[in-house]
Each structure stands twice: as C-alpha cells, then as structure tokens.
C-alpha cells in the first residue's frame, strides 16, 4: 500500500511535469463519481466497509486532481477505473459482512428455534407424562372403583346370604313352632276330644248313674228294708253266736266247756257254735276271722302254747270243713298271756281257758292284738 500512496504521487508529478491536456470533463470519472455517491447513500456500505469506501474516495480525489491538472485521459481514466472498482469492492465487502451478520443472526435464530424445539419436545414429553399420569390415575381410580364394587357385591351377597340364612332359620323356627303348635293343638284337640268324650261319657255315666241312682234309690229303699231285715237277722245271728262288741270288734268266745278237758277236740256243743259261725261267715263272705287260743297259767308254758295253738287250729279246721275258705281264717296261740280273769280260782281259770274268735268288719280288717 505504501507503493499505492507514492504511485499516484509519481503520476501526479508526471502529469504536472508532462503538462498534458487540462480537460475538465471525463466520462469515466463522472461514472465513478456517480457510483461512489450511490455507495455513500447505502448505509450498509458506509457502516460495514468504511475503509474501502474511503480508499475509493481518495482515489476519486486523485482522479479529480489529475483531471484538473490536465493530466492525460489515460491517467484520469486509470484512477477513475480504480475508484470505480474500489467502490465495487466496498460494496461486495458490505454485502459479505451483511451476509455474515445474517449468518451470525441465523445461528442465533437457529439456536433459538432449536431451543424452542427442545422446549416443545420437553413440553410434549411433560404433556405425555401428565397424560400418562392422568391415565394411570384414572385407571387406578377405575380399578379402585371396580374393587369397591366387587367388595360391595360380595358384601351384598354375604348380607343376602345372612338374610336368607336368617329367613331360613326363622322359617325353620316358625315351622318348628308351627309343628309344636300343631302338636299342641292336636294334643289339645285330642284332650278336648277326650274331654268331650269324657264329658259325653260322664254325661252318659251321669245319666246311667242317675238312672242307677234312681234304680238304686228304689233298690236301696227295697234294700233298706231288706237290710233292715238282714241287720235284724245278723244281729239275731250274732246274738245267737253270743258275739260281744269290744274295742277290737265283735268277739265270739268259745268257752272251755266246748272243748274236751286239756284237749283240742271240740265238744258237741262247740261244734254247734262253730256251725252257727260257719253259717254266718258263709252268709257274709267279706268278713274274716282271727282265731285266738288262750289257756290258764297252770302247767308249763310250752304245753299251754301248744294247747292254745291246737285249739285255735281245731276251730279253723272245723270252719274249713264247713265250707269257709281257709284264707279268711288266721290263727294265733297266746297260751296264758292274756287272761280275762284271775288264775287263782277254778272259775277264773275256766274263764281263761277259751278260744276267742274276732270277726272282722265288712272290709275284712281285724285290729291285731
């Protein structure tokens, strides 16, 4: 560039020395001026290629100087061409720098767009995640609802089963109760039936009883008369039997004289008395007899005992012989244990030697000694 500076100088000097033509007009230079002015109004060129533009301006000045000093056309044209080309260079540099700025801007822009893309991707991912989360939550909620529904169903089924069980139990109980009631009712009906039957029966019986009573009354009336007669007869018979009324009932005493002395044989008188008794007993079959043998205190007790038993047996044998059933007759031997009189006198001893026949009442009862 150093050379560039002094070259025009040398040219100028040459021009001065040569003293060549001084033509104030040059078409090439005019064109260069026009292009230069146009570049000066382009802010891109002014701002981005100031050095080159200034260089072009300087060259243009030299051309002007060369022209005004009347230098050769060739010299002026040369400078004008150089200036023109320098303007073009300045313009190209401005264009390049503009494009470079655009590249730089575009890089930034692209980075921004990429960032936006990343942001959008992240947003989309977040949205998807949120969606997935939501879906999962919904699914979980659905599952939970489903489980709850199943549980409710199970619970309901259990409840219904319980109700059914309860109902079945209740029905069973009711059935049992009804059955029991039916049984009770049946029993009750049977009881009522029985009661009714019984009542009917009773009514019949009552009727019968009434009839019977009426008949009985009639009969009783007749019986009373007969009884009266019978009682009179019985009393007469008892009187004949010489029966005495005592605490133990009617007692017939067969005295010592009716037996052979110290023997168990009935005398003829004794037999007659026993016959009367047998007749009485045969007439009143409900009566029983207890035959007790007694002795006086003379002699040994064993002899007396034997005698008393044998005499009682003798009476018994006689009665049986006369048709009285043996099971109506009981015998006892008491020896000298129950005297009725003093044994110190002969008369007393005779009274003590006896057989007592105790007659039972009509039911066959005898008060034992």
């Amino acid at each position: 560039m150093k050379k560039n500076r002094y070259l025009p100088l040398s040219l100028i000097a040459a021009a001065i020395l040569a003293g060549c033509s001084t033509m104030p007009q040059n078409q090439s230079l005019s064109e260069a001026h026009s292009i230069y002015s146009s570049a000066r109004t382009n802010p891109q060129v002014v701002n981005l290629a100031p050095v080159e533009l200034q260089k072009a301006g300087e060259t243009l000045n030299k051309a002007d100087v060369a022209l005004s000093k009347g230098e050769s056309d060739a010299a002026v044209n040369q400078l004008a061409y150089l200036a023109k080309q320098q303007v073009a260079i300045a313009q190209e540099i401005a264009k390049r720098k503009t494009a470079e700025l655009a590249v730089a801007n575009a890089s930034a822009q692209r980075d921004q767009v990429r960032l936006a893309a990343r942001t959008a991707e992240a947003e989309a991912a977040r949205r998807q995640a949120a969606l997935a989360q939501q879906t999962a939550e919904q699914q979980a909620a659905r599952d939970q609802a489903l489980i709850a529904a199943r549980q409710a169903e199970v619970e309901e089924a259990r409840r219904q089963a319980a109700i059914a069980q309860k109902t079945a139990d209740e029905q069973a109980a009711a059935l049992a109760a009804a059955s029991a009631q039916a049984q009770r009712d049946e029993a009750l009906i049977a009881a009522r039936q029985a009661e009714a039957d019984a009542a009917r029966q009773q009514a019949i019986i009552a009727q019968q009883t009434a009839d019977q009573q009426a008949a009985a009354l009639a009969a009783a009336s007749a019986q009373a008369e007969r009884d009266q007669a019978l009682i009179a007869q019985q009393e007469m018979q008892l009187k004949e039997l010489d029966a005495k009324k005592t605490d133990r009932g009617l007692v017939i005493t067969l005295g010592d004289v009716l037996f052979s002395v110290n023997k168990a044989q009935l005398s003829s008188g004794g037999v007659r008395n026993v016959q009367k008794l047998a007749a009485f007993l045969n007439q009143y079959p409900q009566r029983k007899v207890l035959i007790e043998g007694h002795t006086d205190s003379t002699g040994s007790h064993s002899l007396n005992q034997t005698l008393s038993e044998r005499r009682a047996d003798a009476v018994r044998t006689a009665l049986v012989d006369m048709g009285v059933s043996s099971d109506r007759i009981a015998t006892r031997g008491y020896a000298e244990a129950y005297p009725v009189a003093s044994n110190n006198t002969a008369a007393g001893r005779q009274l003590n030697r006896r057989v007592e026949i105790i007659l039972s009442d009509d039911s066959g009862n005898i008060v034992p000694r």
Partner: protein, 113 residues
C-alpha cells in the same frame, strides 16, 4: 521518493519497471483464485487474469507505464473478484441457514401438532 525523483527526471513517458506492483497484483490474483473468484466472479477474475497477462507482456516490452496501469487494474479486478466470491459464499451460507431454520420450524410445527 527516489523513484518519484527518477520519474520526474525521466519525464512523462519514461518510468522504471513496476516490479513491486506486478508482485502485489500477482498476489491479489492468486488470492482471488484461492477465494473462488474463478467460480463466483468469473468475469472479474478473467479480466484480472487477462490484464495480468497483458501487464507481463508490457513488462517484457519494457512498456512500464502500460504495465503499471494494467497491473493496477488487475489488482483491483482480482480484489473485487475475491470479495465477490467471499460475499457470494457468505450469502450462500446465510441462505442455507435460513433454509435450515425454515425446515426446522416446519418440523417443530409438525411435531407440536
């Protein structure tokens, strides 16, 4: 200044051989070549080459004044060709970037839909 003095002495027509300008111009042409002037500014580049050839020829004929002028013109022509190539490349890169951005935007628009 010595050269200028010589020039002053030699008068209008007589100038010394512009070897330095020739070297500067050759460097500018080679620079334009490597910048892609051949491809992006073929007219300017071709002009620079032709002027350079002519300058060489003038040098060989000892017509130094013509050689200087041609060399000077070849230098600016080569410089212009180099700058044009550079600005064209820059413009291309900017356009490509804009294209990228446009495609990217479309891509994003499609994705976000």
């Amino acid at each position: 200044m010595a050269v200028a003095a010589v020039a002053l002495m030699a008068g209008c027509a007589s100038t010394s051989a512009p070897t330095e300008q020739m070297a500067v111009s050759k460097a500018a042409v080679s620079n334009a070549m490597s910048a892609g002037g051949n491809q992006f500014a073929p007219l300017q580049f071709k002009s620079a080459l032709e002027k350079m050839d002519a300058a060489e020829k003038a040098m060989a004929e000892k017509n130094y004044e013509l050689a200087l002028r041609l060399a000077e013109q070849a230098e600016v022509d080569a410089k212009l060709a180099a700058e044009m190539a550079r600005s064209a490349k820059a413009q291309k890169a900017a356009d490509a970037l804009q294209d990228d951005i446009r495609v990217l935007r479309q891509e994003i628009d499609r994705q976000s839909k």
